[in-house]
Amino acid sequence: MSGSFTSAVKKLFFREAIARAVREEMRQNERVFVLGQDVGAFGGSYREFDGLFAEFGSERVRDMPVAEAAMVGIGVGAAAAGYRPIVSITYMDFMMLGFDPLINYGAKLRYKTGGQLTAPVVVKTTAGAKGQGVAHSQCIEAWMMSVPGLKVVAPSTPADAYGLLKAALREDGPIVYVDHKRLFPVAGEVPFSESFVPIGKANVCREGTDITLITHSYMTRVALDAAKLLESAGISAEVVDLRSLAPLDISTLGASVQKTGTLVTLEEGQVTCGVGVEVIRRLQELLGPFPAERVGALPAPVSSNRVLEEACLPDASRVAAVARKLLEKKQ
């Protein structure tokens, strides 16, 4: 960004940042439309589509019955035929129902047709545990990182929620946009004028020198809290928010670990075949071996039970403890 005008900002709720991105794109391109449950007059479960129904009507902001397989397929099909739908899946857990049309058709469409067709569809979904039980809490973005032809992004701030969604709506293939239940209460500054956050670019949100914490989505906030705890212990932690899980920004991640020499990855999902282990492996391919540890949820379903949920999810002290131990081992 350059020029004093473009650095002007406006504070928005996370949901307002999303609604703004969608509204701008819908105004500019009549082929952008929204499919989901409770997205119309209700404005979305988190009010993330507030105002869109009133402005664009029921043809472009469409309520659907609960039928994720059909909904994703319809979105993918409409995209293949030239439209740019956003398919909103309220709980990421239910993305699984839409995997066949998204992954078997959407992600493979350009390839399987030899370039004749492509499906520019944004599947927007909300991940994360917040007291709603084992089937309404999952973070399964890692499952989708390995699908050739499918991109995955995850904002952690209102600015990135806005910028990444704008960019996602300009992509020429399918892209999964993962936000998080615990991010909706967050307010933050968003550029005043229209802007985009490029897909495939990570963000160093806190600079540091002793250790790198690589993370995404709500866990970015936990990582920043962990960095504060580490600071009081005399450790300077650099926090890098992936923003883009597929493709990964190996260049930015690599530069950070090259500088600090030590890495802790943090995710709310499972560490087995998770985001972290992929990041660690890719960086070791680039930089050679270095001390690394991955932190994620306990290997158990995440109950709605407050005590059990809290036990399962990573928190700042757990992250800080892992970081300290890793640095101690190094010495």
């Binding site: 397929g73 319809i74 993918v76 099909g77 035929a81 049309p101 058709y105 350009r110």
Partner: protein
């Protein structure tokens, strides 16, 4: 159908039959699902479609692709894995596509193309075109949730979508009667308020007539329609699947050939005689010969193409 259309239909079915026979003779024919015996369904349906309509199918795609007007040379090349194929050799039978001639494509996941077809239909509705989408699937797809979800949405939104169930009464080894509850598969339409019909899929004129009615309904904007075409498969489900019927049963099934039936009907009507039939056979043989020659002369893709068109 007019006399000319009826003759075209015969020719089209003969083309499919000859094409698939030529394909099956190739040692490297690959994993194929053939339409032998079911040609009238593909040809009858396609006879009712207009230029800008789109057809989507499941894995039994060769007959429908040819009936819709895909270039036989490029289809043969695709099936044999050559880069001159419709999909640059990368899709094969399961994913044949040529949207420029109205064949939006096949998809190898059973019932996997149904929701996609609804999305394409939605795009046509939103664009206010007069085009429609036809989704062709077998009785094997009828049990899938995707079909029921999409019937509901298509009816609710009055999508310009024609559902065609090619019921050849066998899903690999499973007879339809042991797997599917409705008396007629088209009864499903009643549940969703969709006009539905079951017709004889072995008679191309019957299929064409019913398809014409259904297409008119759908194109009028009154919503989807459901057409069940009863057919018979003359061979096993695929080139690798074992046949489950006895020799006697198969022999009986093969007496219902839609091509012989149409030829006989046209002879009776004076539209076809020995000379015309010989001409049709010759035309078809020429086309198939060209298709084989084209495919044989074409190159396989460069291994580097494994990584192109992924993103």
């Amino acid at each position: 159908m007019t006399a000319e259309e009826a003759k075209d239909a015969l020719r089209s079915m003969m083309l499919i039959r000859a094409f698939e026979e030529a394909l099956a003779k190739k040692p490297d024919h690959g994993f194929q699902l053939l339409s032998t015996g079911e040609e009238a369904v593909a040809v009858g349906i396609c006879s009712a479609l207009s230029l800008n309509d789109q057809l989507l199918t499941g894995g039994r795609s060769i007959g429908p692709a040819l009936a819709r007007g895909c270039d036989p040379r490029r289809v043969m090349a695709e099936l044999l894995g050559k880069s001159s194929g419709t999909n640059r050799g990368k899709g094969g039978r399961g994913h044949l596509a040529d949207p420029t001639v109205g064949f939006f494509g096949s998809h190898a996941v059973v019932a996997g193309n149904i929701s996609i077809a609804a999305g394409v239909a939605l795009s046509m509705q939103m664009s206010r075109t007069k085009s429609i989408v036809t989704i062709l699937f077998g009785d094997g797809a009828f049990g899938a949730g995707a079909l029921h979800e999409v019937l509901n949405i298509a009816a609710t939104w009055k999508l310009p979508l024609l559902f065609v169930c090619n019921n050849n009464q066998l899903s690999v080894s499973t007879p339809r009667a042991t797997a599917l509850a409705p008396k007629n598969l088209s009864d499903i339409g009643l549940a969703f308020g969709i006009p539905s019909k079951t017709v004889d899929g072995m008679d191309v004129n019957t299929v064409a007539g019913a398809a014409g009615e259904a297409v008119d309904w759908v194109r009028s904007g009154r919503g989807p329609a459901f057409l069940e075409c009863m057919s018979l498969r003359f061979a096993s489900h695929s080139t690798t699947a074992r046949e489950t019927r006895s020799k006697a049963e198969l022999a009986e099934v093969r007496t219902h050939c839609p091509i012989l039936k149409q030829a006989a009907a046209l002879r009776t009507a004076g539209i076809v005689d020995d000379m015309i039939e010989a001409q049709l056979n010759s035309d078809v043989a020429d086309i198939i010969g060209e298709a084989i020659a084209f495919a044989d002369a074409s190159e396989y893709p460069d291994p580097a193409e494994a990584l192109t068109d992924v993103w």
